[in-house]
C-alpha cells in the first residue's frame, strides 16, 4: 500500500494514495467526472482547480491532470465560467489599433494588478498581453498568449471582468488571418491544384499494383 495523504474535496476529508494527481485522487475518492475533465493531458483546460494547503490562506491554482496532490490540500474545481465572447466575422474584421478595444471594451478597465499573470497555470504573462492588446500590438499578444489552453482561471481573478483568453484568441486569429504573410509556396500549389497538375500521376498510383507501389515506395528519395 502506498503512502496515504489527506485531501479535502470541496471541504470534505478523504484519504488517498499520495502519488496520485489531483484528477486521479478525486476519482479515487469515488467521484465520476462528467464536467471538469477533458483531455487528461494538459491541453484542454477543462480541469482547472483552485486549492490551498493546510494552515495557509494563499489560494493556488493547478490543472488537476498535471499536478500531484499534496497532503492537506483543499480542492475545488471550476469546470465552467460564464465568460462573454464577442462574436465577429474573421474574414471582414480589420486589424486596426482599435479593433480589440471595440470587441472587448472592458480591456481598457485593466488596472495592471497582475492577478491574471499570477494565476496562470501555463505561466503566461497575461497582463502584459492585455496591455499589448490595448495598444493594438497583435504580434505581441499572439506571441505572449500562444500557449494559452483557455482554462479561464485568469478571468476568474480579474477585478476588471476582462475575459483575457477570448481577447487573446481574437487577437491571434486576426494576426494569423490578416497580419502574418500567407505562405507563398501554398499560393503556387493551389494554382497547380486548380490546373489538376497532379491528377494524372495520382490516378496512375491508384491503378498500380501493390508490388509496383512497394517498388516505388522503396526507391523514393527522402529529403
Amino acid at each position: 500500500m502506498p503512502e496515504l495523504a489527506t485531501i479535502y474535496i470541496m471541504g470534505k476529508e478523504y484519504q488517498v494514495p499520495a502519488n496520485l494527481t489531483i484528477l486521479q485522487a478525486i476519482e479515487y475518492a469515488g467521484f465520476l467526472f462528467v464536467r471538469g475533465c477533458g483531455c487528461r493531458g494538459g491541453f484542454c483546460g477543462a480541469c482547472s482547480t483552485v486549492y490551498r494547503t493546510k494552515d495557509s490562506y494563499k489560494l493556488k491554482v493547478a490543472l488537476a491532470c498535471q499536478t500531484k496532490i499534496e497532503d492537506g490540500m483543499y480542492l475545488a474545481q471550476i469546470p465552467f465560467y460564464p465568460a462573454n465572447k464577442a462574436e465577429h466575422k474573421i474574414s471582414q474584421i480589420q486589424p486596426t489599433t482599435e479593433t480589440l478595444c471595440a470587441l472587448y471594451p472592458e480591456i481598457m478597465r485593466c488596472i495592471s494588478c497582475g492577478s491574471c499573470t499570477k494565476v496562470c497555470p501555463q505561466d503566461i504573462k497575461v497582463m502584459d498581453y492585455i496591455n499589448a492588446a490595448i495598444r493594438g500590438d497583435y504580434k505581441k499578444v499572439a506571441e505572449l498568449s500562444f500557449d494559452c489552453i483557455m482554462c479561464g482561471l485568469c478571468a476568474t481573478r480579474c477585478p476588471a471582468e476582462i475575459v483575457q483568453y477570448y481577447v487573446a484568441l481574437a487577437a491571434r486569429r486576426i494576426y494569423g488571418a490578416h497580419i502574418m504573410k500567407k505562405a507563398p509556396h501554398l499560393d503556387k500549389r493551389l494554382l497547380e491544384m486548380k490546373e489538376q497538375k497532379f491528377a494524372k500521376e495520382i490516378e496512375q498510383l491508384m491503378q498500380s499494383s501493390t508490388e509496383q507501389l512497394k517498388e516505388l515506395y522503396t526507391k523514393r528519395d527522402i529529403e
Binding site: 507563398p184 493551389l190 497532379f198 529529403e223
Partner: protein, 545 residues
Amino acid sequence: MYPKEFQESIKKVEATRQARKGSDFPRLSLAERQALLEAFHPDYKKGTMRALSVGVNKGDKTPHEFANLFEAYSLIDPERFTIPQPKYSVDVLIIGGGGAGVSAAITAHQAKADVLLVTKLRIGDANTTMAQGGIQAADKENDSPAIHYLDVIGGGGFKNIPELVRALVTDGPEIIRWLEDLGVIFDKADDGTMLSIHGGGTSRKRMHPCRDYTGAEIMRCLKDEFLDNKIKYLEYTSALELLKDKNGNCVGAVLLNMENGEVFTVKAKTTILATGGAGRLHIQGFPTSNHYGATADGLVIGYRAGAKLIFIDTIQYHPTGVAYPEQILGQLITEKVRGVGAQLVNADGERFIYELETRDVVASAIIREVQERKKGIMTATGGGVWLDTPLIEMVSGPGTIHKQLPAMYRQFIKFGIDMTKEPVLTYPTQHYQNGGILCNEFGETNVPNLYVAGEVSGGVHGRNRLMGNSLLDILVFGRRAGRHAAEKSSKIANLSEGTLDHLKQYHAELQQANIPQERKSPMLLPDYRPKQFQGEFNFLAKLRQ
C-alpha cells in the same frame, strides 16, 4: 527528479551522446519492417483478439476490448422503450465536437443547412486538441500530393483505400489555406514560408507545426469560428443509438443529457458521426494518450445500425508515450521531439532503431528493446527507453526546446524533469484507431444518410497512420462530409418516422450468440473509480424507469 537507479543509465546516455550526434542509423527494408511487426507489435500478440459473433463484420477479428462493446446490449431496451417525439428536427445532425465534427458543422452551415452539433464533453474536448507535432500537406516546391500519396500508402501497409487517400492528399493544400484564413498561426518565416519538418515515414518535410500546440491552435480557431457562425450545439450530450426508418435510412439519433439523464431524440435528414477514437478502452492494458471521452461510442452505435467496419484489427501505439513519472503515464511525447533531433537509446545509451520509421515499427522496436533484449529502464509501472532530448539543443541550437516544444517542457518540468538537460523515459501508448467505419470519399457509409468523419472512420490510413495525417484527415473529411450531407439533406423533403427495429434485430442476434445480458454499451465514459464505487452512472437512471 529521477530516482537514483536511473542516474547510472543516464550517465551512459550522456557518455555516448557526442558520438551519436549527427550519426546515421540504417532504415529497415519493407521485409525487415514486417518481421519486426510480426514479432513485437501488439496487434500480432496471440490471444488478444477474437472474431465478432454478431453484426455486419461477423467473423472479423478485433481486440477483445472492442468485441466486448460490439457484443453488448444497448443501454436502451428497444422492446420497452417508447421513442419520444423529436425535440429537434434538423437537416444535419453532427455527433461529436472535435475537429471533424466542428469542421463538418461549419461547412454544412455555410452550405445553408440547419445544423445541430451534439458532443459528450465540451466542444474541443477531443484528441484534436491534444495533437501536437503538426499537420501534413504537400504544399512545398519539392513535394507533391503524389509523393504524399505514396508516403501514406506505404505507411499504411499498402492496404489503404485509394479513393480516400486521393481525397486526403488532394485537399491538403486547400485545407492549409482554409486554416490560414481562419487565423491559425503556423510556424512561419517572415515571408510566410512554412517551417516544415519530417514525421515518421515522410519522404518530404511536410509537417506544419504550430509550436507543439498544433491541434490545440487549430481546434480553438475552429471552435471560435463555429461560435461566430452561431451554429446550434448541445454539450454534455451523448448518443445512445441511431434511428432508422422503415427503408433503412438513418433519420437521427436517441441522445442523452449526461447531466440530468434526459433521453430525447433528434430527427435529422442526414447524420454525421464524428465521435473520434478509442484510447480509453486501454487495449491490452496499455495506457493511452487519448482524451477522456475516447470510448468508441460512434463505432458501436454505427455498427448496430448496420455500418460496415474496416481494419478493426489494428491499433496504433504511439512509440513515445510517457513511461515516467507515473502520474502522467501514457501521455504523449510528440513525434516532433524526434523530428527535431532527439534519439531513442536504451539503458546503455545505444541507438536501436532509426527514429523516424513509421510508428508501428518504432513502437515494435521499443517493445523489443525492453521485453526481449532487456535493455530497458525498469519502473514501478513497467519499463521504457530513453528519448535523448538534450541532443535537440545540440543539433538544432540552444533554446529550441523552449521555442518549439513548450508543452513538452511544461509537461516534464512540473514533475522536476528538465528535458533540456536530461533525457525522458518513454514507452508505447495506445494512440489511434487505424480502422473504423468504412466510408467513401464523401464520408458516406453503407447506411443511407449516415456519414462519418475523422477517427471513427476507417480506410484512409490503411493499417497504420502517419503523424500529421490525422489532423489533415479530420478537416478533409469533416468538410467533405459536411458539404455532402448538407447537399443531400436539401434533396430530402419528408422524413419518415425513426424506429429502433435495427436494434431489435441486433439484440436478437446477441441472444442467439449467447451474449451475457448484463454486457452493455456504448461505454460513454471510462470509470477510473475504485471497484466499490463503480456501477451504473447516475445520468443513466432515467433509462431504467
